[in-house]
């Protein structure tokens, strides 16, 4: 089943011709309207006219997350503000988020690609989609929502949290499709069990899980415990939001990148050379139809590989493998992106706290937990318990407010955090060890 059969099954040659045409047009737009790109392209000695083949993409400069931060909030927008109909943002390393803007056409494109993704996952009109992705600045909730409406399915805008209510609604409303992070789906199933509700008895048929890395083992676990077909979805707000790539339910082997809108490349993150099909490297994406904030060769920092082999589902779009890690130190905690430097910045803002901390990430009952260990030096020590507890609560609150992630602060003795030469070991991620 397809949502847009013509484009989803476009023969490779026609697809690449379309990509080239759209790439040239996008570069022509940004060299005119975005000073940042005008400068970067001139520096690289490339212009839209000098792009003759898709291989010329490799001559274009990269765009980094830092470039987006430096352009805060609107300096990378390629259209005037009156053409922007939606603004989203993802958390940034120093409290300033990364901002993206969408034109009406961008929202239409996003809705279509998300609708395509739903259909690829096995969802159709008549399905009741229980959308537990967060609504708000985060792109997950609204992205899935618009796609569901575009498809013509019934969408329940649940957003995250309030697990008991989620379960009740899912049971009473007869939800057939669940969209959330993979870990939250398992958490809900466990929570339901305690209420005497077996997820396997619910009407759920398809689960579309993303916003955090997961494994084949976890898929099997989810499919058994929730009795549904689980597919992986990929997206990032800088590029669009959810629906950049999706697994098809026919193969469940790699995620189709919607290549008529995005050109994916895999590069060696150290040398920046483009890697051949099948090799693991960093995913780089160029948006070729976006109007609000088009990005050239955006460094996603996600590690994967790509294949152009034909897929049993009939889609001609390339597939990327499950994300297997990051080429930077970003953590994904319950779907929220967290950089250790963000936590450091918050700690440094608390009077007397020294820059000795460790982040311990674990998965308990299928839910990520973050513990922030902070050394108690003389500056923050008190002979009264209440002062130390107030300090912990203050840090926990600030992290929650600024990063949107719940954590537990643990006060530890000085020097108990290992000092190492060079780069300190700031993060202990125990999630994949179990």
């Amino acid at each position: 089943m397809f949502f847009n059969e013509e484009f989803e099954t476009l023969p490779r040659e026609a697809l690449e011709a379309l990509q080239l045409k759209r790439l040239k047009a996008m570069v022509a737009r940004v060299e005119k309207s975005v000073p940042f790109y005008k400068e970067a392209l001139a520096k690289a000695g490339v212009s839209s006219d000098s792009i003759k083949t898709l291989a010329d993409l490799q001559r274009l400069p990269f765009t980094y997350k830092q470039d987006m931060r430096d352009s805060y909030p609107y300096n990378l927008f390629a259209v005037p503000m009156e053409d922007i109909v939606r603004i989203h943002a993802s958390s940034g390393t120093t409290g300033k988020p990364t901002v993206v803007g969408y034109t009406r056409k961008d929202i239409e494109t996003w809705s279509e690609l998300m609708a395509r993704s739903f259909v690829a996952a096995g969802v159709h009109k008549g399905d009741i989609i229980h959308n537990s992705y967060g609504y708000g600045l985060f792109t997950g909730g609204l992205g899935a929502h618009y796609g569901a409406e575009r498809l013509g399915a019934s969408v329940i805008p649940m957003s995250g949290g309030n697990t008991k209510k989620q379960i009740m609604i899912m049971q009473d409303f007869g939800s057939t499709v669940l969209t959330c992070t993979p870990s939250y789906s398992l958490f809900m199933a466990e929570a339901a069990k305690e209420e005497g509700i077996d997820f396997r008895d619910l009407k759920l048929r398809v689960g579309i899980f993303g916003a955090e890395p997961w494994s084949e083992e976890m898929r099997r676990d989810i499919e058994t415990k929730l009795n549904l077909s689980a597919v992986d979805i990929y997206g990032l707000s800088e590029i669009m939001g959810p629906g950049v790539a999706i697994e098809c339910c026919e193969a469940k082997k790699g995620l189709h990148v919607w290549e008529d809108h995005f050109i994916p490349e895999i590069i060696n993150p150290e040398t920046c050379e483009v890697l051949p099909e099948g090799q693991m490297g960093e995913l780089v994406i160029t948006t070729i139809t976006k109007e609000g904030i088009p990005l050239i060769r955006y460094r996603t920092r996600d590690i994967t590989s790509i294949t152009y082999e034909p897929c049993v589902c009939g889609r001609t779009h390339a597939r990327i493998a499950r994300m297997s890690g990051r080429s930077d130190d970003m953590l994904i905690i319950r779907g929220v992106n967290v950089f250790p430097s963000q936590i450091e910045a918050i700690l440094m803002g608390v009077e007397g706290v020294e820059p000795h901390y460790v982040l311990i990430v674990e998965r308990k009952d299928n839910l990520d937990t973050l513990e922030v260990q902070v050394e108690v030096g003389e500056n923050i020590f008190s002979d009264e318990i209440k002062h130390l507890q107030a300090l912990s609560v203050k840090i926990e609150k600030q992290i929650k407010e600024m990063l949107g992630v719940t954590c537990r602060v643990r006060l530890v003795e000085p020097k108990s955090i290992t000092r190492s030469e060079g780069k300190a070991k700031r993060v202990i991620d125990n999630r994949n060890k179990a």
Binding site: L388, E413, K415, S416
Partner: protein, 143 residues
């Protein structure tokens, strides 16, 4: 009239309390009394010792976070209502007790309580004004 107390931050980990007391013992510091306040993660060990400076230095050398606090030692008649009388006097003057604990030795017929007040000086004035016997540090360290 106040008494010096040292407070030590201790993680709730096996053997930490033993280590602190061993360090003090090896340095020849005698613990006069102590109290331990604890949470699930950490504890605060409060000590009155015969040599505050020495205790503080040896613990700091070993990497512990130590602070010095002024507390007040008060003689309390060892009879029912003895402690209540004192607390009532403090309460009447709006003085808060942050925490308190007992001294192990008696002072003649009386028990001795150690108080940590939010306003130390005011508490001492109130107590002496009501004829309670506030013990000086030197007396305590050598008891």
């Amino acid at each position: 009239m106040h008494v010096e107390q040292i407070s030590i931050f201790i993680e709730n980990k096996f053997g930490r309390l033993a280590e602190v007391t061993r360090i003090l013992g090896d340095a020849g510091v005698n613990i006069r009394t102590l109290s331990l306040a604890d949470t699930s993660d950490f504890g605060i060990l409060r000590l009155i010792v015969n040599d505050t400076e020495k205790a503080r230095n040896v613990l700091k050398e070993r990497g512990f976070t130590v602070s010095k606090t002024e507390v007040v030692a008060v003689e309390i008649p060892d009879r029912p209502g003895g402690l209540a009388d004192i607390l009532q006097v403090l309460d009447a003057d709006g003085i808060n007790v942050e925490y308190m604990y007992a001294f192990v030795e008696r002072c003649g017929e009386n028990a001795v309580m150690i108080f940590r007040f939010d306003e130390t000086q005011k508490a001492i004035t109130t107590l002496t004004g009501k004829s309670f016997n506030v013990l000086p540090g030197e007396r305590l360290y050598s008891m």
